[in-house]
């Protein structure tokens, strides 16, 4: 097995692993929902997480499994994944997303510190949730946007 095939085979194994873990988590979630009735938390989140992991596994398998059978597909897939231009674009996007994330977390920390000294209102409830959602989604949007812009420019 050459290096290329070995690299794809590793990804296929990761795909099967994600699929197995995802299904196990879904089953655990369903069992937990049926058996634990007194929990104050919504246990459906476990099933949801399992579905997400299963989805990742299926996506990986769809992408890489066909390439194991066909040498040209394997060659093109690895070329695409290891392509230096693509890696450069991803690196730049990751860097921008990182700094965006750091800036948002820093702003949240400053707000929280100030609130502790009665300078600003305490972030609580919905406001805190919206802030955390923003701090999660904005870096992601920056990453995707940066990739799209750099794909066109380079």
């Amino acid at each position: 097995m050459n290096d290329r095939r070995g690299w794809i085979a590793t990804r296929v194994r990761l795909g099967w692993g994600s699929l197995a873990v995802g299904i196990a988590v879904i089953i655990a979630g369903v069992i937990a929902e049926m058996t634990i009735t007194s929990s104050p938390y919504n246990l459906r989140i476990i099933t949801g997480f399992g579905i997400m992991v299963t989805g990742v596994g299926v996506g990986v398998l769809v992408r890489y499994r066909a390439a194991l059978r066909d040498e040209l597909s394997a060659r093109r897939l690895t070329a695409e994944e290891r392509d230096e231009r693509t890696m450069l674009i991803r690196m730049r996007a990751g860097n921008r997303a990182f700094w965006t994330s750091a800036a948002l977390v820093y702003a949240g920390l400053m707000w929280s510190s100030s609130a502790a000294n009665n300078g600003l209102p305490e972030p609580a409830g919905d406001a805190l949730w919206y802030f955390l959602a923003t701090a999660t989604l904005v870096p992601f949007a920056v990453y995707i946007g940066s990739m799209l812009v750099d794909e066109r420019a380079n």
Binding site: R76, A79, D83, E84, R85, T86, A153
Partner: protein, 66 residues
């Protein structure tokens, strides 16, 4: 940086995908290289030059101020 990739590729009657397959990069990278929008790493520049049996400076043309 200018380059003669499109010219050298056409002379061998290769498609962009064929050239991409030979140097193991994506077709989009070849498109960007030929369009002068992307400057390759030294390793890719060597691979391309060797593939065309040429020197790097015969394939990639450095312009002062680049």
């Amino acid at each position: 940086m200018n380059n003669r990739l499109a010219e050298l590729r056409s002379a061998r009657d290769w498609t962009q995908q064929e050239l991409a397959d030979r140097v193991e990069v994506s077709r989009q990278t070849i498109i960007s290289l030929e369009g002068g929008r992307y400057n390759p790493s030294i390793l890719l520049a060597f691979r391309l030059a060797r593939l065309f049996d040429a020197r790097i400076e015969d394939v990639f043309l450095y312009v002062e101020g680049d």
